[in-house]
Structures are given as structure tokens and as C-alpha cells.
Symmetry: D3
């Protein structure tokens, strides 16, 4: 198959299928309408202009349409752009489907669900185990499909579950080195910490915030869900409060969205594990796009830093 | 009755009943134990030392005991202190009771409950009205007894209810001037905003944070309570989400404990009304203790400012 | 009359008189000059491009000219734009005048002056009353015409006086609930707090900062004015200092432009009243433009928040 | 004469006259009153306890009394203390006077006034010159006596004038190197920048803030004074505004008390000169008290830093 | 052996050997000298007063002396204090030595050096390996003895080496889960990151900052050392620069002491590993001192938080 | 010669040689490529568009090419732009050379080196003198050519040396007024403080950060260089540490890039001198471009302020 759109150099010719992620109409200086299109494939996205568009074009080239494009890569103000020579919507006979253009977690949902089930199985505290199992079951479908965020890190199909699986492995490794840590709390905290995103966000594609997401946020949503789960399961132990606190505090500081900072050892460590896995994900994605001896683009969620790939890393 | 302990000047003799708020044991340089006592009455509190105490003294002069004290007011490092000449525990025949020494709201609990009931009665939106009535009923006893905070403002018996009543009157006056405001939301927001304190705090005397108060806080507690109330009353409308948001956002900013800032007009105004009433309470209490032409003590919760009472205010 | 320019939807045809607020010349990619025009009417403003302009066009379509425009509403990068089909300057016989296009306070200047006079009349302290009356007389004409700010809130003709009148009503309501407040100070503080803007700003249209406004600011300007008024009226009481302090401190904090924070009770409350009225004004204007169930545009002066209008608000 | 109180080492015997700066009464654990005395001489100050004091002692050893003390230097919690063996008030025949114990500027008031007069004489712009001369004359007596601050830097008799003279010399040197600077503005800015302190502060001894100082501050006070001076001298030029701006902005930032930052080149430089001279004064005083190879005490107004004196500085 | 001094409750009698960590002389209100002593053993420290001390006592009870004490545990202002009944210096025949009273890492220096040697042995990049081995050899003795800090975390004998060993195990576990990480860089970064502390700090007991520590700090010191090592070993590769950057940036942000933030993936992860291990150490030490259902003392270096130990942790 | 490109007004015709600083290719809405050119001469720079460019044009009009341009000055979005009518590369016979278009320090490199040599000659401490002389010799060529920064201040050929020379004169003047200052330290600190820029930056033209500049920064680079110089010269005195500290701390605060704040008197003053000279340079350049009565453009490195040139400054 053709290489990813992110990996073309300026001047290269392109002829391949792409997904329209976004289309905005404008009026050119000659008074004629044009479209600004954002194309995407699994490797990333690229902008293009389509000039002198008709009303029909506008309909044909709307978001979430797959198109066949030929053209050339340009540089415009330091960013790559695609100059379209020819463009047509994919026909039913073209051998492409939506999922071909969406980035997805590197593990299948079955594999991920299997790992999570295993971690829940290993829990020894029945209260923690039952609440965790109850909530993951309740939201299982969305949990396995949603991204972990609208942007910044794990912003791909099944990104949320993949983030959780990576964090579980990290939690296990750390708890192995610091045996005073309560593994049950840590695993449950990892599994539940971002589960509220299945209500905060609109879904796996064209992800946006829901009204509930905007007005309450995934942390408050999940704290409520834990309370309801405990009621439904008739669980009264202090574990309920502690799990609510783990979720409530996992952003670490009030100004980052946690009204209480971590006040339990496992809450503090959960915050670290979350951060570490998110950062590794962002770093790897940024560094994959540059060669040894180069700096990456600035990464907004990493304090806008530009990272260097040493020349001896190849 | 004798005047309040706060209103004595240095050098004045004192002979009256006081409540022991706090007692801490220490060892003097002569090797003998002593007690540092904090006495209180409705006007405020004062520190005193009791030297050469026996084991019996330690028991007799423990917190929440009423005592009869004679002595003299001293100045120690710029603060008044009471030098004890004689001290004895009050006997059952002494004409004093605990409530005589505790500051209380200037309205009776009946009056306050009457006003709140009236405001709930005026609500037109049945969802908002039912949730508000349900929650105030559920927590009515504690609500009418608790202080609004452990310190800073309305930190007296029934302070919470008094704060709510003052805010309701303020809400009504403001909504009268800005008719675009939704009175139902505003009244309900005022009534519920701090109701979680009946779970966050330990009670009206020697008020401390509970474990749930420490790990979740009154905002999260109340957001959960609203969710449960809606479930129990089978209410599904957007009003539930909006009321949760009003409570969630009433501290105004993430760094002040609200994970979401106000995103509804009435939420923004609720935050203002809460602040304004709390500040008026703090200002009046600080200024009551000084004469025209003087500055108050520094008020910690007002950015540590010292306020001036103009000479033409008498 | 035709509906306001802010209330057209994309795709709608337009044919109406508009005021040119701003005109900037540019050079198109074909080498020909064009104008970027900002049109305004009472409802708000909209941008448009006028292509291939002659020297004559440039003169005809200069700022503060009224024009007749036909065209169509487009969306450009998420904001509405007007695509001009025809445009001509209004002729003397067209039934339009400048004031038709400028947003103005909802009360007449006579009504506003009447209310303010009444509040001054109610003052009991002669020193406060005389200084207030003297200064409002001195600057009456500008005071009744100026906006309260160049942007953000009450940025319309007579916005300053309207802001003051709303604040006076709010001050009266609050002082009614907290009788320890000195109404004279509060009313005078409200009337004088922003009066320095008549020197800080250039006037009611195309409002800019004057050099004195840039180098001293309206707060310092007004503190000086109060000093001069007291000299001219031979008033020596502490009231002069207190009024200067009320104006000096009304922005609340050093970083917001007040070199001293409020140190008088009424100064603290004045700061609150000012904020509350400004926020109500901004919130109402932003929410007027959206339908129930929608979020407003981000409001810069409200911490860049986007507010939600509940679906049950209609 | 005996050496300064600051320069005694722990264990040394002392017998000399000292001034009582402060006296506070306390009650010892044996129930008897004692006095905490702060003694001062030109070198600095030291604390002492006077045990078992009578009512007569309290009167004899009140602030601003000169006493003859014998005793010994102790270390208490890392700070020197004086253990009193004998103490008596100075009698009229003792060869000591108040001024012997107060730190004073190293130049006489005549010398300082002479230098300032010369700088004013060198000004070429008559408006600047006349306003400067008028204001320095109006406040001359206080100006020559007051300290530059209550603490931190130049906190001694005539400290204000000495600070101004040092800054004038610095201004001259800098203007010599950067000839684009307007010397008249710079000299006038230096002379007037802190002149408001003669109203903000209570006087040269036991210096405190006046009410006007608390509610307006020396910056606002002086901006008003410049306005009045211009009125009295019938000066209308832009120089008035610029001089007001120089004073207004000389603290550099809003959070440091200047509602406008420097917006004139000379205002920016004035802020620097002020800072540089204040810092040199603080550094020299702190470093004078330590030996090469040692660190100074922490200097609060220098970000609480502790400075090192290199071993090769002797 | 007797239990640690930290584990006594108020009222318990004590009779055991303790090390004097600190002794300060004061003068009691009866005019007689006394000593404030800080005793320590492996479990922690406690304060005591020794009254009416002679000159001989002062010499006998100086810091780093071992003494035999009998007495009783008191509570003074919420902290435990030891009331001394008898005290005598340990004699040569007493079965105690300095090391008995100093907290030490739980691994022997041989074990730790063995582990570190193994990690260096596993490195594949010869430049990184040689520089790391050279520097650890150069400072080996101090490295194995020094604490990792003067307070906060790993502030015990061999704390630095123990911190490094824990971090190496953590680095290995994390690199196992994220294979894109360069293990050589990570291991070398861990070993070198705090090695400059052997020059910044004075030694393992009564640890203070050296002058070089104060004026340059361990980060700058170590960056220089890496440069010198490369010169001595004639290594020129980019590895030198990268290792210097790892050390330079390991505090993460300018305001935490790193003039450059991490700009290499392994530098970012090193910062995380350092933090995680330090926090685990602080959390475990604080939580070891409380029972389930209790909160710890506030931990300054963890944002002054007080942590909760769940009741189900026993 | 023709006037500088910065000094043309809108509408003026231009015909002169200019240097191409930057050239970026774009695609116009007609599908044809164009170039955005930044021209520069000694007075500043200006942007221009070159439409419909051929491949040959792209090569002819590349950065660091001198061209002859005729055209006209336009205003585009408030900034001047050059509309090109004709453009051709300069031929070898044209009487122009690269240096004609680059801004350069107003002193020759010989003059500057002479002054610096003289200051080094005046030093009395041989350790300080030898290290300073050694390092200036080692980097002399680059030192005399490099700018002091990539932007903000002294961003021209030989800007670094010119900044140092100005600072030396300022240091001398200040040390003359405050004789406690150690001139040797001050002069050496001035000469060395930014010398690391010859490694941090790429060179005098098209100046960028090197990899070493990005990962270590000029401060750390120079601290290392001082250490190496001391080794090579076998100098061991405390002067080495102090000079390293002067360089390390000269940015004043951790958040500005100095891991240690100034802890030596001369370090504090060096920070001031550096700032003062940089600010004078920025202020003069900004004010040179406006007329009396006008405000400058906003100056980013001066907190984005816009400065006013008084009308009486002409």
C-alpha cells in the first residue's frame, strides 16, 4: 500500500485514497468559492485547497468522505500542504473502507479486554474488584472504542483502552519494586480514572465534548458513577470513598482539574503513571517523525517543547 | 450580664463564667506542668496560662468545660491575654449553660427555615423545586445547626443557614434589577451550594473536617447528592445537570476548588452572591471591634488586609 | 426597519444601510488594491472585502460613512462575512443618520441624569454630596455621552452613564440588606469611580486612549480631580481622602490597576458592584446571540469562557 | 567611644549608653512582670529581657529613653541578646543626647541640599525646573529629615535626601554614557520620585505609615502634588503630565504599586537608578557585618538571599 | 534493643542511649543558662530542655555526643518532647557506637556498588559507559556515604547510593515496557544525575551546603565534571553533550533549578523516575508513622500535604 | 546614497539595492507559485511578494542575494510592504557588497578590542586577569563578529562586543560612585558574561541556535569554559568559583535561566548593568523610529510596552 501522508517530502507526487476530515468554504479574491480540505490517513493529516468549487463539489467533498487524490506536496509557511491536481469521491467498488484511514490502537479490543479482565481477576479486595468489574461492564463498548482525549495523547480509536492497558503494565512493574503499594487500588484506579470520558466525549470519530462533559467533566462524572455503583452493589466500605478520591485527584492539582490533590499514596502514584504513559506516547509520536540529529515540531502538551533526537539514535 | 471577653481593655479586672475551648499541657522551666487555656464566650476568645497544675486540674479544666474565672487582662506580644487569679469549674447550680458561650446566628432556626421554605415555594420549575426541597429535608437538622465554615466567615452555630438566608435575600434583590436571571436556578443554587458541608464538617462545635470532607470536599459530595436525589425522584431533565454545575462551579476557579468555572449565567452570579455575603460578614465582624479612626486586625481571608473605619463613621 | 446585521444567517441576502467603522487598504494577489471594510449597525459589526478599488472608491468608502449595501452572508473561518454585490454611499436624501447605526444606552440621557441627581439629593453628608455634585456638573456633557470602555462592557454611546445608573440601583438594594453600609460613600463612589474616563478616552465614537489616558489612567486622573474639587470647594474633612481611596482602589488589586486595595468597607463593596454590573452586561449580550442549548462565543473579559444557555431557558 | 552594639561577640561584657527603641511588658512563668527591651545605637539594635520589673521600672524604661547598661552578650536561637546586669536611666549630666543613637546619613543636610540645588540649577527646561524647585522648597524640612523607608533601605535619619543625592550622581553618570537621555527629566524624576514619603510616613523616628499613607500611598500623593504645583505656577506644558508619569511609574510594575509601567525612556531608567541605589545600600549594610568567607543574614528585600563575601575581599 | 525514640507515646518512661544532634544555649527567666537539645536515633529525633546547666555540662553535652538518658515523653504544642530526669555522657565501656544512631540505607554499600557496577556493565555505548565508570570511580567513596539531600528524601547515610539503585531498577522496568528508550542513556543519567552532591554537600553527618554548593549547585558542578571526564578520556562524541543535558535538565523546569528543560526523551523520563522514587521514599516514611485511619503529619516537600492511610491497610 | 528602507512612507517610490534575507515559496489562488521575500538593509527590513515566479526566479532570488528593486511602499494590515515593479540580481559590476546591508556596531572591532584590552590591563587581581585574558583570546574572532542575541537587543554584526564595551564603561562609572565594588570582578564579569554565545549561536548572519546552544545554553557553556581555563592556567583560587558564579547568575533568577541567583554583590550589579545597557539599546532603537508626540511599536522584550516620545523632545 502507498505510504502515509505524513511521510511525503516537499515536491513528491501523490496518488492515493484519503479521508476528508474537515471541509470549510471560503471566497477567493476572484469572488469564487473554494474549499479548505483537511485530509487524513493513519499517519496523520494534511491541508489542501480546492479552487472554484461548484455546489455539487461542496456536497461531494464533505467530511468523512473517502476520496482519490492526485497532486503534489508543497511547503506553505513551514508546513506541508497538498496541491490537488485531481480529486474524486471513492466509488463503492474502490477497495477502501473508513477504518483504513483512522489510526487505531496497536492491540485488538479483544486483547485489551483480555488483559484488563486478568488484572481485575488478580484483585484481592472484593469491594474494589466488584465496583471495578461493574463499571467496566456497564461502559464496555464505549470504553473499547473511545480515544483517550480529543488531542495531545492517545487521540485515536481505542486510545482510551490502550492507555489503560499500558498503565496497568506500568502499575504492575512499579508495585513490584515498591511492595508497600496496594495493587488493588492501583489497578482499579488505572481502570476507572478516565472512564468518565465515555460520557464526556462524543465518540471515537470527530470527537467533541458533550454538554455534560463541558459542564461537569469526566472526573466528576466518574466520581458520581462510583457512588451509584456502590449503591447498586450495596457496598459500604471505605473502599468506595478511596476509589472516588483516586479518580477525583488523578489530575494532581486543583489548577489541573482535581479539586483535591492526591492524599492517598496510591493516588499520588496513579497520577504519575498516568502522566508517564501519556508523555511516552506523545514523545514517541513526535520523535517518529524526525531523523537523528533533528528537532521535533513543538509539542503543545509538553510545554511547547521541541525535542532532539540524538545522532547516535538510529 | 457581664460584657464580652473581647471588649475588655488591658489592665481591667475580670470575674465571669467562660467556656474552655482548648487546653494544652506544657512543662515550665521550673519543671512543673502548666496548661495553656483558650477561653471563649459569644464575643470571641482569649488565651490564658494556668501554672503548676495537678493531674486533677488537668481533668477539671478540659475543653468544653464552663469555668468561673477572676483575673486581669494583660498584653502579651500585642495580643490580649488573661492572667488567671482564681478559676473553678461551674457547678450545676451556677446559672449558665453551654449555649450562653457559643456565638449563634441572629435569627432563630424557625425563622430561617420559614424564609427558605418560602423561597422554595416561589420556584416555578417543578424539577428544580422538587430536588431542592428533597435535599433540604434530607439534611434539615444538620443544615440548621452547622456553621458555614471552620473559620473565616459565618463560623458560628447555624452560620450555614444564616449565610443561605442572607444570600437568598441578596439573590432576590439582584434578580429584581436584572430580570434576565432565572430566579429558580439562583434560589436553588444558593440553598444547595454549601449543603455538602453537613457531611464535610464534623458538627457545630469544635468543628473539624471529616475524612470524607478531606478526601472529596463539600462540592463533590453535594454534586453526588443531587445526582442521587434526581434518581430517587425520577427526574431526568437538564435541570439536574445545571444544578450540579451550579454547585460544582460556585468557587469560581479551579485553583479555588471548582473543577469547572461557571459556564451558566446564574452560576457566575451565584459565585458573586456567595462572595459578597461572606465578605460583608467578615468586614462587619472585624470593624465592630475597632473605633472610628482605627484600623482592624489583619483579616486573613480578605487577603490579609487591615481595614480602616473612617472618623465620620460613628 | 431591516433586522440587525448580527442576526443574519449564512446564505441570507442583505440590502440595507450600514455604517463603515473601519477601512484598510490591501493589495490582492493580482496586484490590484482592495479594501477590508468593517460595517456596523446597532446590532454589531461584520467584515467585507471590496475588490479592485479605484482611488475614488477609497475616498467614498472611508470610516464613518453611511453606505447602502446589497450582498450575501458567507462563513469565513467560522465567522460571518458579508460578500458585497453592490455598494454606494448614502445620499443626503436617504432617510438615515449616524445615530441610527450606533448602539446607545436603553435609557435617555435625561432619564439617567434624573436618576443620578436623585441619588445625589439623597446623600446626607454635605462634604460627600458637594464634591460629587461639583464633579458630575463639571464633566456632565462628556459623562452622558461616553462609553464605559473601549471594549468588553458597556462599550456604546452613553454606556458610562448607563453603567453608573445600574450600579446605583444595585448599591441601593445591597445597602438595604446590609444596613451597616454608608450609602453616601457608596453612591458617591459609584458616580465617581469611572468618571476619569471622560479624560482617559477620546470620545463616544471610534474610542481610543488619549495620551493622558495612556500615561496616567482614569483612576489617577480622577483622584487628582477629587483633590482639586475639594480645594475649590474648601472642603477639608476626611471624606476627601476616603473618596479618593474609593476611586483609587476600585479595581481591587494592584495587578488590576489599583495601587492600593480596598481598605474601607464601602470600597470593597464598590469593587463588587462594579464587577457584577459589568459581568451582567457582558453575559446578557453574549447570551442574547445564542439559542437555548447552545454555547456563546468565547468572552475574552470573562476569562475567555464560553457560556451555555440551558434548553429550558426560552 | 565604645564600639557599636552590633559589633560585640557572644560572651563579651558591655557597659555603655543605649537608647530604648521599644519596650513590651510580659508576665513570666513565676507570675511576675518583665520587660522585653529593644536597645539601639547607630550600629543597630539588640534585644534584652528585664525581669521582675516594678511599676516604676516600667515608666523609667519606656521607649526613647537613654539608659546606661552593663551586661553580657548571649546567643539565643541564633541571634545575639543582651543579658542585663545593671541598668539606669541617663541623668541630665550624662554626656549623651538622642542624636548619638540614631543612624544618620553620612552627609550633612547642608551638603545634601547644596548638591540638590546645584542639580536643579543645571536644568534647562524652565517648566521642569520650576516645578521641581517649588516642590522641594514646599517640603524642604521634612525632606531633609525623613528616612527613605520604614525598613529595608536608607531607613535612617535623612535617608531620603541621601538616597536622592546618590541617585542624582548615578543619573548624571549614566546620562553621560547615554546622551539621548533627557537630564532634566531624569534629575527631576529622581528628586520628586519619593518626595510623597514626607506625607506617607510619620517622621524620622519610630517611623510609621500615616492614614493618608495607608489609603493613598506616596506615589499617588506626589502625583497630586505635581498637579497642584503646576496649577499654582500656571504651567500647562506636557512636562506636567510627563513628570506625573515619572513618579507614577517609578515602581516599574502594577504589582509593585505603579498603576502604569514606565512608558517614557527616562521613566524606565529612573526605575533602574532607584533600584540600583537601594540595592547597593542594602548590600553594603549586610556585607559590612560579615567577614570574608562568610554569608550574610538573609536580606528580606533582596528576595531573602544570603550573600557571600569572597575570601579575597578584605 | 529499646524501641526507636519516634515510637514512644506521651506519658511513657524512657531509659536509653541517644545521640545529641544539636545543642543550643539559652537563658531562662530565672537568669540561669539552659540547653535545648535535639536527640536522635535511627527512628528520628526529639527535643528536650536541660535546665540550670554548668559550663561543664555545656561541654559534656555538645553535638555528636552519645548520652544515656532517663525521662518521660511529654506533648508540647502538639509535638512530642522529652523531659529529662537523668542524663550522662556514654563512657567508652558502654556498648554503643555512632553508627547505631544514624539512619542508614537498607542495603550495604557493597550490595549497592555491586548493582551499579552491573548496570554499567550492561551498557552498550562505549562512550557513555566509559564516562559513567570514570566518574563513579572518581567519587566512589563519597558517593557510597552521602545522603541524597539535607532533608526531604533519602536524607540518611548512603541515601544517595540507595536512591540511585532504586532508580536504576525503576529505569530497567520502565525501559522494558517502552522499548524505544535508550537504556544506556537512562542508566547513565540515573547514576550521574545527583553525583554532584558529593561536592555540593559537606558529608554524611550534620550535612550542610558547601560554598561551591551554594554558589554553583550540584547540577552545574556535575555538568562540568562530565566535560572534564570527556577531556581526560579523549571522548568527543555527541554523547558528552547529551549526558551533560540529562544532568542539566533533570530538575525539569527553570524554576526548579534546571536552566534547560528536558529536550531528549530519556531526559524527560529521568526526571520522572527521580521524582517517583523520591516521592515513594517520602510517602513510605510518613505513612510508617501513622496507623490505619489516620492522617500523616504535613510533608513539606509534597506540597505540604497530609496523607491518609485507609482503614483497610493494615 | 539612498535612504534606509525603514524610512520610506506609504506611497513613496523606491529604486535601490537590497539584500534578500529570506525567501519562502507559496502557491497563489490562481495555482501559480509566488515568493514572499524579506529584504533588508542597515535600517531594517521590509516584506514583498513576487508573483508568478519561474524555477529560475526561485534560484535567482534566494537568501543572501543582493538585488536591485524598483517599486512602491504600501500599507498592509498596518505594516509597510514593498510592491515590486522590477527586480534583478546585482551583477559583479554593481558597486555594492554584503556588508553594505548588514547593521554593524558603531565602533570598529579594533576600537572595541582596544578598549577591552585596556580594561583587562587595569585589573589588579592576577587570577581574574589571566582567566579573562585567556578566554577573550581563545574566542577573539567570533567575539568581535557575533551579535549579542538573535533578536531583541544588539542583534547586529559585532553586537556582542559593542554591548560589552558599553557595559564596561557603565561598570566603571558605577564603581566610581560605589567604591566598595570590586572593579576586577565587575570588568571580568562583564567581559565573560555572554561570551558563551559564540558557541550557543551559529554566527553573525542568519543567526540561529546551535545544538549545544539549545541543549546547554551560553551560561552553562561559559561556566565550563572558565573551569577549563583555570585548569589550563593552573589557577586554584576562589576567584575561579566566583567568576563561574558571576556568569551563572547573571540572568538574575531561575526562571530567567540562572540556576542560582546572584549571591555576590558584584554579581547582583552585573545583572543590573547588563539589563540597563540592553534596555537603553532597545529603547533608543524603538524611539528613533517615531516622532515627538508619537508612541513606538510595541517592544516585545520590554514587556510589550509601547513608549511615548514627549513633544518637547525634538
Amino acid at each position: 500500500m502507498s505510504k502515509g501522508i505524513m511521510f511525503y517530502d516537499v515536491g513528491e507526487q501523490i496518488e492515493q485514497f484519503l479521508l476528508i476530515k474537515n471541509a470549510t468554504k471560503g471566497i477567493a479574491s476572484n469572488g469564487k468559492p473554494f474549499l479548505t480540505l483537511i485530509f487524513q490517513d493513519k499517519s496523520g493529516e494534511i491541508e489542501a485547497k480546492l479552487w472554484d468549487v461548484s455546489d455539487g463539489d461542496e456536497k461531494s467533498f464533505s467530511p468523512e468522505t473517502i476520496v482519490k487524490v492526485t497532486g503534489e506536496i508543497l511547503n506553505y509557511r513551514g508546513r506541508n500542504q497538498l496541491r490537488i491536481r485531481q480529486i474524486r469521491p471513492a466509488s463503492p467498488t474502490d477497495p477502501v473502507k473508513l477504518a483504513d484511514f483512522l489510526e487505531t490502537a496497536p492491540l485488538s479490543t479483544d486483547e485489551m479486554m483480555g488483559k484488563i479482565t486478568q488484572y481485575i481477576f488478580e484483585m484481592k479486595n472484593p469491594n474494589i474488584q466488584r465496583i471495578t468489574r461493574h463499571l467496566i461492564k456497564k461502559h464496555q463498548n464505549a470504553f473499547l472504542e473511545y480515544p483517550a482525549a480529543t488531542k495531545n495523547h492517545h487521540e485515536f480509536v481505542s486510545g482510551l483502552a490502550f492507555h489503560v492497558v499500558s498503565m496497568l503494565d506500568l502499575a504492575k512493574a512499579i508495585a513490584g519494586l515498591y511492595p508497600s503499594l496496594d495493587k488493588d487500588l492501583l489497578y482499579s484506579g488505572v481502570i476507572l480514572h478516565d472512564l468518565g470520558k465515555v460520557i464526556e466525549l462524543s465518540g471515537p470519530i470527530s470527537t467533541m465534548y458533550t454538554i455534560e462533559g463541558n459542564l461537569l467533566g469526566h472526573i466528576t462524572i466518574m466520581v458520581n458513577e462510583i457512588g451509584k455503583a456502590a449503591d447498586e452493589l450495596s457496598i459500604n466500605g471505605e473502599e468506595v470513598l478511596i476509589l472516588q478520591h483516586l479518580v477525583l485527584s488523578h489530575h494532581g492539582k486543583a489548577e489541573w482539574g482535581s479539586p483535591k490533590p492526591p492524599l492517598i499514596k496510591e493516588a499520588e502514584i496513579l497520577h504519575y503513571i498516568d502522566n508517564l504513559d501519556a508523555k511516552m506516547n506523545m514523545l514517541d509520536r513526535a520523535l517518529d517523525r524526525v531523523k537523528p540529529g533533528e528537532f521535533t515540531e513543538r509539542v503543545f502538551a509538553l510545554d511547547n517543547r521541541s525535542f532532539y533526537k540524538p545522532t547516535f539514535h538510529n
